[in-house]
């Protein structure tokens, strides 16, 4: 019997539309914003807070900001002086890499972007080849382009590398190395062979237990003490090794969580079918375990991306390092806020991008159960 007192024969009740006040925008607002009196009060307070907070920020960042100019004198208005960022933009992006060689970095970006975009084309065949290219071929090409010395390209020493370019180099190497190393360490830690297990546990606990700053510092200062006279390791390489080992220790524990979460029956079914250890891991266990811990893996990648800022400690000027350098330049004192806001914005773009990609990956790999 419906509310209006109309009655239907049993089994003949039609599908009626829902009442207006429970659906659509008004329905959503009623349920989520104004459901009870305390909720309604909180909603109003929150709205008032946003009204108080957002307009001045927007005003500072956009409406009263300086966008055009070449020197500090062009910073006349009350808002942010984005001229500062504009003038320093090349250094913030590339460090002290010579202007006439920047095409090499840009070429590498274009190649990587093209290969990456191809991976997004649905149904394209040969994606594993593209993946292989990105993991093996592209690093070689990038190395030749960035360092030079072959094919008539002048050598550009690594102290000149900086800015966002350096951040991307360190993060990319760290990310690309930490996942396979982390998987191997996790498998080793769960192994039945006592020596392998002990070595992996030791490695993980040491590199996880010290701050990245000390790792970088020791790699930069102490490592050369152990090398024979005259042998010198490029500072960037030392930093890269430190970042790789540090990050792989974290990744190992994330992967191990995934391996533990899989039901024992999966291991048993794979073994019962005659799969040996590596086939079982590669075909059955790791695809499931890694899929399970995508949030953890991407979280570690995002953390690593931001941790690269610590290379400032050893005199490498990454994105944040260049911004700080620019901010302490005698001609441009007083624009620290613009610098850090731009830094935050820059990092946020990349980290949010990684986060969105991870959600896309999770949705794509969700095989319905």
């Amino acid at each position: 019997m419906s509310e209006q007192g109309q009655s239907y024969t049993t089994g003949q009740h039609p599908d009626l539309p829902a009442p207006v006040s429970t659906t659509g925008v008004i329905g959503w607002m009623r349920v989520n914003l104004f459901a009870t009196v305390p909720n309604a009060i909180l909603t109003i307070l929150a709205a008032l807070f946003l009204l108080w907070f957002i307009p001045p920020v927007l005003d500072w960042a956009f409406f009263s900001a300086d966008w055009a100019g070449q020197t500090r004198d062009d910073c006349t208005r009350e808002g942010a002086c984005w001229v500062f960022i504009k003038v320093w933009f090349r250094q913030l992006m590339y460090g002290r890499y010579p202007v006439e060689e920047l095409w090499r970095i840009n070429l590498a970006y274009v190649i990587a972007a093209a290969a990456g975009l191809l991976l997004f084309v649905p149904g394209l065949r040969g994606k594993p080849w593209i993946g292989l290219f990105l993991l093996v071929g592209f690093p070689i090409i990038a190395f030749i382009l960035f360092v030079g010395g072959n094919f008539g390209l002048p050598v550009i020493e690594t102290p000149l590398w900086g800015g966002l370019f350096l951040t991307l180099v360190i993060s990319a190497v760290g990310i690309a190395a930490s996942l396979p190393m982390g998987v191997v360490l996790a498998l080793g830690r769960r192994s039945n062979m006592p020596v392998v297990k002990a070595l992996c546990i030791t490695f993980i606990e040491i590199w996880r237990g010290v701050p990245l700053i000390t790792v970088l510092f020791m790699a930069s200062v102490m490592f050369p003490l152990f090398l024979p006279e005259g042998m010198n390791f490029d500072k960037l390489i030392r930093a890269l090794l430190g970042v790789m080992f540090f990050s792989s220790a974290y990744m190992a524990e994330v992967v191990r969580g995934g391996l533990q979460a899989l039901p024992k029956g999966q291991y048993e079914a794979a073994q019962a079918l005659g799969l040996n250890y590596w086939k079982m891991m590669g075909l059955v266990i790791l695809p499931q375990a890694l899929k399970l811990v995508i949030p953890g893996i991407v979280n570690t990648f995002i953390g690593l991306f931001k941790d690269t800022t610590l290379v400032l400690i050893i005199g490498l000027f990454d994105f944040l390092g260049m911004i700080q350098l620019a901010g302490t330049n005698p001609d441009w004192l007083g624009f620290a806020i613009e610098g850090y806001v731009f830094a935050a914005f820059g990092f946020w773009i990349f980290c949010f991008g990684m986060s969105r990609y991870s959600q896309h990956l999770e949705k794509k790999l969700h095989t319905g159960h």
Binding site: P263, G265, E268, A269, Q271, L273, N276, K291, H369
Partner: protein, 265 residues
């Protein structure tokens, strides 16, 4: 209970299914401990090719452990296990050879959820037996037809019912063309209306001459298909006999107690 025509007929058809003299599995004085807990005590068992054996018993009696020792999912500490003339030791090569010839069906199916049904079936033939993909897929479709669900080939395990999943699991083991099939309580996790479809597949398998060892509580299945029913309790084989004798004339008191518990509800 006197012999009625029905049991006479199945008795006849059972003897029709040839049991060869060749020994498929030989277990000699096998003992197993979990730590200090003595879970298998002096197991002696000979399984001939073509035999269908049902193992029953109360829980904790070691029946699952016994069949899991055969494909080395569990290790035995004492005694000998010989499968298809290969001795089961710590030697990985032996273990891998044995696992190719011994298929196992689990209580909880253990299908690979990230692969389609067809991929589940072709995984081992392609990667272990090195079969070309087309051949493996043809063989997989043949077995899917045999378990009566060829239309589910492209679905994922999560989209199938329990009975369908278990039939896929049986087909997956069969794709490796094993010499022996082990079943570890294959219908215990199924809703009653799906048990029949899985048992039908298993009966069909038995009638085709497969050597089978089945841990199960389905006594109807045992009566229909088994050559031998083994009763285990406390890690020992208490009694074994052909189904007629076993159900009608149990010798040991423990067997009688067990039968009275499971046959009366």
């Amino acid at each position: 209970m006197s012999m009625n025509p029905h049991t006479q007929e199945s008795h006849a058809s059972r003897s029709h299914m040839a049991i060869s003299d060749e020994v498929a599995i030989q277990m000699n004085s096998v003992h197993k401990w979990y730590g200090q807990f003595h879970v298998l005590k002096d197991i002696n068992l000979t399984v001939h090719k073509g035999e269908r054996i049902v193992i029953c018993g109360p829980s904790g009696s070691g029946k699952s452990t016994l069949i899991r020792c055969i494909n080395r999912l569990e290790e035995h500490q004492k005694g000998q296990i010989i499968v298809d003339n290969i001795e089961l030791t710590g030697d990985l090569k032996h273990i891998e050879l044995i696992r190719r010839e011994v298929g196992m069906v689990f209580q909880h199916f253990n299908l690979f959820p990230h692969l389609t049904v067809l991929q589940n079936l072709t995984l081992a033939p392609i990667w272990v037996r090195k079969m070309p993909k087309a051949e493996a897929e043809a063989s997989a479709m043949k077995y899917l037809e045999r378990v009566k669900i060829p239309e589910q080939a492209k679905k994922y395990p999560g989209q199938l019912s329990g009975g369908q999943q278990q039939r896929v699991a049986i087909a997956r083991s069969l794709c490796m063309n094993p010499k022996v099939m082990l079943f570890d309580e294959p219908t215990s996790a199924l809703d009653p209306e799906m048990i029949a479809e899985v048992l039908d597949v298993m009966v069909g398998l038995a009638e085709s001459g497969m050597t089978m060892i089945c841990v199960t509580h389905e006594m109807g299945f045992a009566r229909k298909v088994a050559n031998r029913v083994i009763f285990m309790d406390g890690g020992e084989i208490i009694e074994q006999n052909d189904p007629e004798e076993f159900f009608n004339n149990p010798k040991s008191d423990r067997t009688k107690l067990f039968l009275s518990q499971i046959l009366h509800h």
